[in-house]
């Protein structure tokens, strides 16, 4: 439902350092986020997640901006809290709430909630042999539920999205078999003018070291490396229709680290257009896989055949 600026979830440097230290000390025990066969798709930090699941995650991001006029944003810092719940094995709903702190030029800082958002996702295709999945999503941003001070719109919007994840492990690519990609294409329809409709596209390329060690060749890499998945994401938001706004694009190179039932990811946020900010931002995310930690209670689908 949100664009890259809204996805710019920020994190204080000290918290990032603490989490980084914690993951280096933690024992290596692989966990999972979303899977198609033996392929794990790690949680993305800028793109929306590609399949329904039971999880809770917190995303922090900070992005400098080019404030030119008094009162304009110099830096946005966001904390997102997201809860995903499966209804059935293939159908889930996501609840997303963001809090934004905004530093402004020649004006006091301000803060407030962004609009509430909910997304229903359905896993339409799951092809384990080809490490592929396709999901369909319908998201709703509830207008006028956030604070105008931090840019929340009083006008709601609805987004239809297609998500695709594909691993290359079924192809004869040797050491490139740990590669996988995921992509999303969405169309957001505003409830009314003047809010523009948006085309939202995202792409992530990732190289899974756990896949390398477990499926391709055991290099016996040291522990911190063994559970890492380097990845690079890009997310582009383009107004549908000329003169309705500007394109916003961000590139996020980073790393995901998987533990038993949790994942930690950290990425740089490089704005590719002026609308996406000025200067390098940082985003970090901690996922708790409720379906792993509480598989027989809150982590199971509400309607489960098992």
């Amino acid at each position: 439902v949100s664009g890259p600026r809204d996805q710019a979830k920020r994190m204080p440097r000290s918290v990032a350092a603490l989490l980084a230290s914690a993951l280096l000390l933690a024992p290596v025990a692989a966990g999972a986020y979303t899977a198609a066969g033996d392929r794990q798709f790690p949680a993305t930090l800028i793109l929306p997640q590609i399949a329904p699941t039971d999880e809770f995650y917190a995303n922090f991001a900070t992005q400098p901006d080019a404030a030119a006029t008094p009162g304009a944003a110099r830096r946005d810092t966001d904390l997102s809290l997201v809860y995903n719940k499966t209804i059935t094995d293939r159908l889930g709903v996501q609840f997303d709430s963001d809090f934004t702190w905004r530093d402004r030029l020649a004006a006091p800082s301000t803060s407030g909630w962004q609009n509430l958002a909910t997304t229903v996702k359905y896993l339409a295709v799951l092809d384990p042999a080809h490490e592929m999945l396709v999901s369909l999503g319908l998201g709703r941003e509830w207008g006028d539920t956030g604070s105008v001070r931090v840019g929340a719109s009083s006008i709601g919007a609805t987004t239809g999205t297609v998500y695709l994840g594909k691993g290359l492990g079924d192809l004869d690519l040797g050491m490139l078999r740990p590669l996988a990609f995921a992509t999303t294409v969405g169309y957001q329809v505003a409830d009314r003018d003047p809010r523009p409709d948006l085309v939202q596209t995202g792409f992530v390329l990732e190289y899974s070291v756990p896949y390398l060690e477990s499926k391709v060749r055991a290099f016996n890499l040291p522990d911190p490396v063994r559970a890492m998945t380097p990845m690079v994401e890009t997310f582009v938001t383009t107004p549908a229709g000329a003169g309705r706004g500007v394109t916003s694009a961000v590139l996020g190179p980073g790393i995901s680290y998987a533990g038993a039932g949790w994942e930690f990811g950290i990425e740089a946020m490089l704005p590719l257009t002026r609308a996406a900010g000025r200067g390098v931002g940082v985003t970090a995310q901690l996922h708790i896989a409720l379906d792993y930690v509480f598989p027989e209670s809150i982590g199971r689908p509400l309607l489960s055949p098992q």
Binding site: A29, G31, L126, P128, P210, E296, Q306
Partner: protein, 206 residues
């Protein structure tokens, strides 16, 4: 005198512990509670057909050919359902006074183990050529194939350890994981209802 008493106590303890040790080739591990097709037990090169109520002993290798199935109840209450095309050896088994030590060796094929809870220390392990799956009490599946194995868990949790790298993953209920020879375990993932339905149907004895 206290020294003699200590010696006697030590001997008594040793004698008590002996049944827990492996070479008890003839010690009973359980009974056949279901059989379909011509299943056999091999012990010391001697083959005997299995029928309902037959005892199963440590050292027996159970051969369940294609189109056959076998169900065992072990002496501590655990139930093992063996799918067709499976070869399983009872390597070690002891269960008494709330303790349990079980080690099975799965050369190939699929089994379902509903492992009962016991009050005391418990080890219940299934070895394959590629790794070891260990549980305390749970309902789970383990399948061995040439060069790989996989575990699926219906209830409880199972640890799966690679024989080659020593790496281990914990698999909770509703999840499964694979292990390929010489490598780390593949990270666990949620099994689909279809995957569970497949292994349940293959191990169910009608």
């Amino acid at each position: 005198m206290p020294r003699r008493l200590g010696l006697m106590l030590a001997m008594a303890a040793l004698l008590t512990a002996l049944p827990l040790r492996a070479p008890a080739a003839a010690s009973s591990a359980g009974l056949v509670v279901g059989v379909a097709g011509r299943c056999v037990a091999e012990t010391g090169g001697v083959e005997r057909p299995l029928k309902l109520g037959d005892p199963i002993a440590v050292g027996d290798t159970l051969v369940v050919p294609a189109a056959a199935r076998l169900k065992l109840r072990l002496s501590a209450g655990s139930v093992i359902s063996v799918a067709s095309g499976t070869r399983l050896t009872i390597t070690a088994y002891a269960a008494e006074a709330g303790h349990r030590e079980a080690r099975l060796s799965l050369a190939g094929g699929l089994l379902r183990a509903v492992v009962s809870a016991v009050a005391g220390p418990s080890r219940f392990e299934v070895d394959t050529a590629t790794g070891t799956a260990a549980v305390r009490s749970t309902d789970w599946f383990v399948e061995a194939k040439p060069g790989s194995m996989q575990v699926g868990v219906l209830a409880g949790s199972v640890s799966l350890e690679s024989r080659a790298t020593g790496r281990e993953v914990t698999i909770p209920a509703r999840w499964g994981a694979r292990l390929e020879a010489g490598r780390d375990p593949v990270p666990p993932r949620l099994w689909t209802p279809e995957e569970f339905a497949n292994v349940i149907s293959r191990t169910t004895l009608h």
